[in-house]
Symmetry: C2
């Protein structure tokens, strides 16, 4: 059983070009009750290890990450995509190509928030080509932080991001993994939630 | 008693030019336990009315709004600042000048998420000149939605946004109201939290 797959089947919209629209409950509009259940599933999958902080990237990762941070009782940090006058001091920077915006972003984390030896959990909403996560990983590595795990909401297994990240040894836990999709059907890889096991 | 004022006095950083930096617990890094207490205070102030949905604007409003949505058990919608290929269908748009980014953003909400008669609560992190909130109000008005209340984390009373919005009749509840600030001191308007009253 997998509540996120159920919700995608019910409310997700399929578009040609491998586009899955989940903006009524996961992205632009968010269902906080679903987010709490997703956070509890990440807690079941990552709860055995020490974690100091959750790290995500703006904007659509923030909602999932702060709810996860609440369930884990940890601070939640997000990488910004542009530099504002309120970004103080020294910065970690990495570049990430965006599939949905068709551009390249620089993502930024102030050095004061990420330190050598910090044990961090990365959270993001989508994993397709993996560019956003690879930028977060590169910032964590530059800081000398240890990545304890990576939690993703929806992974597209037919795009290379998931395999690239797992092949580097990271414990990547996606809560729904799309095996294939067409304009009118979607299939998922078997991925039962621990929190729903009998 | 006011937990947000206490936290600002403890961890806020004052800079010349009326800049208050709260990025270690409210913006780029977020304290979810504080956010839950803030959300409960908004619930105490707005809980007497029917609300259908919470609306905010990316990026720094999202964390507060999703935690509030969780406490209110409501969907949470955010206005985007740029158009991605996943923004479907007809859109409401409004422009907002940004104090921190020194630019003008177009903020966007798909029409499918906001309807005539929807009773909405607006949430945002900062209120200074009020441009972001006025853009959200303009989108809500164009949709024919009713604004039941506006919840802000930190209001700067010496800038015109709060007065402009209250003079239009909106019930604006800020959880900390900065009366004045210098490079090394900050004073707040009296604003005891209902949830902390004896």
């Amino acid at each position: 059983m997998n509540l996120l797959e159920d919700r995608i089947r019910k409310d997700g919209i399929l578009r040609s070009g491998d586009i899955l629209i989940v903006d009524s409950f996961l992205n632009q509009q968010m269902d906080p009750d679903l987010f709490v259940l997703m956070a509890k599933e990440w807690k079941a999958r990552f709860g055995d290890r020490h974690i100091d902080k959750i790290l995500t990237v703006e904007a659509s990762g923030i909602g999932l990450a702060i709810v996860a941070a609440q369930v884990f009782h940890l601070p939640c940090l997000f990488a910004k995509k542009s530099q504002s006058i309120n970004l103080d001091g020294e910065l970690y920077k990495a570049t990430a190509a965006s599939f949905t915006h068709k551009n390249v972003n620089t993502i930024i984390v102030p050095k004061k928030f990420l330190h050598e030896g910090d044990q961090i959990l990365l959270i993001d909403d989508f994993l397709a080509n993996g560019c956003a996560l690879e930028a977060l990983i590169s910032i964590a590595e530059e800081a000398g932080a240890e990545i304890c795990g990576i939690g993703v909401a929806v992974e597209k297994a037919f795009q290379p991001g998931g395999q690239k990240i797992r092949s580097r040894g990271y414990d990547l836990q996606s809560l729904a993994i799309v095996d294939s999709m067409t304009d009118n059907s979607i299939t998922f890889q078997k991925n039962d939630w621990l929190t729903l096991e009998a």
